[in-house]
Amino acid sequence: MNVSAAAPSVPELRPGTAAKSLHDVLVVTRRNVIRSVRIPEVLILSLVQPIVFVLLFAYLFAGSFSLPGAEGAAAYREYMMPGFFAQTIAFATASNSSVSMANDVQSGMVDRFRSLPMARSALLTGRTVADLVQNVIVVAVMVLCALMVGWRIHHGVPRALAGFALLLLMGYALSWVGVLIGLSVRAPEAAATSNFLWLFPLTFLSNAFVAPSTLPTVLRWAAEWNPLSATVQAARELFGNPGLHATGAWPAEHPVLVSVVWSLLIAVVCRALAVRRYASAGS
């Protein structure tokens, strides 16, 4: 039997063209989505913890929290939900992208991909696009959970969609952070552990659950300029949830602009570093 008889001698899509690059990204995205679907418990378990926390905060702690601009348990529940959306996206994205990327390096899949005539950035971009797909699911589940504890949108669907778009854009940027980490560590376990180093400060040193105005100066400044704060604040504004308008901090006054700039900046910088790292891996 002939091993190669029917093999086309010239592939239909030539490397280096935009069509081939786009095609490669889609192929890798599909591969990553299939991988997630094969082991759905990873995503399901990653959603259980935030849902438990939402319920704890909504029914156990909300009565004890009183924030400027969000007095009372019902107001706090609406206040905290954009914070939970952002936190859940951040954790799900960063852990998924960094651990999956580190796995691909360790299992030899990256070598396989690097020996193929595919676009240099396609493996990484395909990873982040698959994360985006996952984040849409994460957001959908979290919205259902939020509606159950009394969270509502107050400024109409288009503005709410814009709020979710900002959250997803932030998630996409953090996915690139995860890709960069996954390519930089030597084992998936290291990727999983390293995430806690930056995800806890990112999500808790922010306006997600507390008012920055209650913090000491240095921490307040960090919380106000935190990219996650800007996104959470922008989402609160677009959803019409109670927020913290009177703090006077410049990022809190222009949250949409700050959120978009932060997300784009993080995505562009981490993408450039990750692609460079990928192209020279092992050298």
């Binding site: 039997m1 899509l13 192929v27």
Partner: protein
Amino acid sequence: MAGALHATGLVKTFGEVRAVDGVDLDVPEGGVLGLLGPNGAGKTTTVRLLTTLLRPDAGTATVAGHDVVREPDRVRLSIGLSGQFAAVDDRLTGRENLRMIGELYGLRSRAARQRADELLDRFGLTAARDRVSSTYSGGMRRRLDLAGALVVRPSVMFLDEPSVGLDPTSRLMLWDAIEDLVAQGTTLLLTTQYLEEADRLARDIAVVDHGRIVARGTPRELKAQAGGQRIEVVVSWPEQLDPAAALLARFGTRAPDVDRPRGTVSVPVNGGVRLLTEVIAALDADGIALTDIGLRRPTLDEVFLALTEDTPRDTGRAAVGAGAPSEKE
């Protein structure tokens, strides 16, 4: 020229360790070169340089007529690589794995699917094609990996220790597939530490040690280089071992080697079959009973040990593993 491979003065260092230290290679189109060497000799690093996975620190290489540094994409279009550790996606089915690789080579999805099915059939994986590859045996994964390297007919194939960890049946199946490929004119570069594998598959062998090529030639030439023919006798009674050795010393070109546990004496000779009959007559005249006697060439094992044993394993080897995680030898 399309399938040829040339390398001149390739050097790759990881920190202090020169993993590849001035390697020259020349494989004509359709040729089969076996890189033979112990662990850490630089075989995998050489393959990684030639397959564009690493950039050389010095030297040049062209694969299928394309420079590995200046035209990596053209090189990647022309090569197939099957690594030491089968790089198949464990959560994808065999079919999905091959289809994905086909599409990344630039095939449209229908062509990729068709090609995947042909290869699954060729490698006896049709029954398992819709199973997730993590359920495959080691031999099946290896075959799937090799199939992945063949999706678009490559003009140069790189096989990095293709049969590591395979059971004998899977190994024979893999060798058959590789021989088919070579029969169709594919240029092949193969690394191995199994001498039997190099002997069977490679037409030319380069023995690599400490990042350098220490010998090259056909398997026959290398065996000749290690001392031509030997006469080996197996005595029936242990007490006759020493008389047999004394007698053989008269016929040999060097002092005979005595292996007491096995009861054998062997000695390098010049003289061939006629000498063998003289030795048999002489042994018979002295009343030495033989279980076996034969004239044979040295095995590649003996050649290999002769070529690499005078360079002791130094501490630099440990540093290769520690300093360079990508070095998999």
